[in-house]
């Protein structure tokens, strides 16, 4: 039985390689109010309009799928579905849909994008009183500067949700500073640091999540 499950999982993880154009493998350290110290590893398959990924940060597992569908006049539509599970306990199902615009100047040095939408989060627990269904605004702002023949990019993002979303903190702003270095034509190195606030609108903020990660991106096709 164990072999069968492992085989299925391997197949599930490898199969997207057939369609994906890039593979991201990232590892890092994250801390939330409940975790003490938590190292994680994630794999993310990325094509032109979709991406799918898995992240393990014991005792949590994250599975996410997202799309970014280009529309006319720089507009895009971006739905995202994310499941977070904790062994022998609760899980959280999150979804977002947002519309936004993305602009890049002709030289490719600067990119800016923004999006607004809605987010929904459903905390599923074995105990009926623990259930929590909530919904809120979804918002994103992203700025990137590329230099050194566009090989290195530095970015800052301000989001209410991310791909591997720590979804049970709905609505809380997440600030990310990151970058990537196109080392070869086939591979990049990426890094980022991010934190989340408990409350944006009133001045009693408290950091409720930090995350540092380092990764590689391989262009497959």
């Amino acid at each position: 039985m164990r072999r069968f499950v492992l085989g299925m999982l391997t197949l599930l993880l490898l199969q997207p390689l057939a369609w994906a154009s890039t593979l991201h493998v990232e590892s890092g350290y994250a801390e939330t109010l409940i975790d003490t110290q938590c190292f994680f590893v994630s794999a993310l398959y990325d094509a032109d309009v979709w991406k799918a990924g898995y992240k393990s940060r014991y005792p949590y597992n994250d599975v996410a799928v997202a799309a970014n569908l280009p529309l006319k006049r720089h507009w895009f539509f971006a739905p995202n579905l994310h499941l977070n599970t904790r062994f022998r306990s609760a899980c959280n199902l999150d979804g977002t849909v947002s519309f936004g615009q993305k602009f890049t100047i002709p030289s490719g040095a600067f990119t800016v994008s923004y999006a607004f939408g809605v987010q929904m989060s459903w905390f599923l627990s074995p105990r009926i009183e623990d259930q929590l269904f909530s919904q809120s605004l979804d918002y994103h702002l992203f700025l990137e500067y590329r230099f050194w023949e566009k090989r290195i990019g530095l970015s800052i993002a301000y989001d209410s949700s991310t791909f591997f979303w720590y979804g049970y903190y709905i609505f809380n702003p997440i600030v990310t500073i990151g970058g990537d270095w196109k080392v070869t034509e086939a591979a990049d190195i990426t890094w980022s640091a991010r934190c989340r606030n408990s409350d944006l609108w009133v001045e009693n903020q408290n950091i409720t999540m930090v995350e540092f990660k380092l990764g590689c991106v391989w262009r497959l096709q």
């Binding site: 801390e31 306990s89 959280n92 009183e129 919904q135 049970y168 009693n204 903020q205 930090v210």
Partner: protein, 307 residues
């Protein structure tokens, strides 16, 4: 190769630093000075029951922002007469949001109001900090004006009362760690008193309960496994619940003393909580005050069984 080694060293060093970890474990000076060491109240209970006057969300200064809300401080004489005419109390417990915006002038007025109320108590008064009390240096003012730690615990009549700081929509990791340790060493039945509710009973609850569902779940687990009979909260300005976790573990959200007669809030309310140590029950009597009334009117009463 040397360059690669340098990068690997940097990464390993960074990971080692963060793995020493606990980046979110740090508290400010006021949190560090707070603990859950049980304060024994004297004299000891002579009878079999005692009463606590519970108020929440006084919001001194709110009237300048919401003109229809009731100005508890401006009408203090009426309030004190009204509240204290409802009975004799052993303790006063305020569940947070004594001020509306944490300013010095609001804290000065709130202190006057709180101390006047507290002076009518037989044994003592306690307060928790709310999300409106900790803005722009509000934690310092809370500590200086009211002389209160951010969180604390006291024991009376064989029951332990834990006053938690949930003012920034979470129980900090450091506070939770101290709480777990204190619960381990405390075999008495307990009650948690704080500002934010735990329960989620509506679609739009994201702003009205603790933000982290997993933290909520952990707190409920702690309550159920450590003889905690009640989570008593404010913040919503309306009475909600009770939520039943077990037959001896409940949650109740209380209406505010700063009342507003609209569909989202309710008239100015306060509660008299009577703990019966023989029957192992706690009774809440709700009193409401309407403009033009001389004293409050008892409008509701409910009983919970304690562990």
């Amino acid at each position: 190769m040397k360059r690669l080694l340098r990068w690997v060293t940097i990464v390993v060093c960074m990971l080692s630093v963060v793995s020493c970890g606990g980046l979110l474990d740090e508290e400010d000076a006021y949190g560090k000075a707070s603990n859950f060491t049980l304060q024994e109240i004297s004299p000891a209970l002579s009878g079999t029951s005692f009463t606590i006057l519970l108020i929440t969300d006084v919001h001194v200064g709110r009237q300048s922002r919401v003109p229809d809300s009731y100005d508890a401080f401006g009408n203090m004489d009426d309030w004190v007469t009204s509240v204290t005419s409802s009975g004799s109390y052993d303790f006063l417990v305020n569940l947070g949001d004594l001020t509306d915006d944490s300013t010095d002038s609001q804290y000065a007025s709130a202190k006057h109001f709180y101390e006047n109320m507290a002076s009518h108590m037989n044994l003592g008064s306690f307060t928790t900090i709310g999300n409106h009390d900790n803005r722009r240096g509000g934690r310092r003012r809370f500590n200086e004006y009211l002389g209160s730690p951010m969180y604390q615990a006291f024991s009376f009549g064989g029951y332990s009362f834990y006053l938690l700081d949930t003012s920034d929509r979470s129980v900090s990791k450091a506070q939770l760690s101290k709480l777990k340790q204190a619960l381990k060493n405390d075999s008495q039945p307990k009650l948690f008193l704080t500002h934010y509710p735990l329960a989620a009973d509506s679609m739009s609850y994201y702003y009205l309960a603790l933000t982290d569902s997993e933290e909520r779940e952990e707190l409920i687990d702690l309550m159920v496994s450590n003889k905690v009979g009640l989570w008593v909260a404010g913040h919503r300005h309306a009475q909600k619940g009770p939520v039943v976790y077990t037959s001896t573990c409940h949650e109740i959200t209380l209406a505010s003393l700063n009342g507003l007669d609209d569909p989202w809030e309710s008239p100015p309310s306060w509660y008299v909580m009577t703990v019966d140590t023989l029957a192992k029950t706690v009774t809440f009597d709700r009193y409401e005050w309407h403009k033009g009334d001389g004293a409050g009117t008892k409008t509701d009463s409910f009983v919970f069984r304690l562990p």
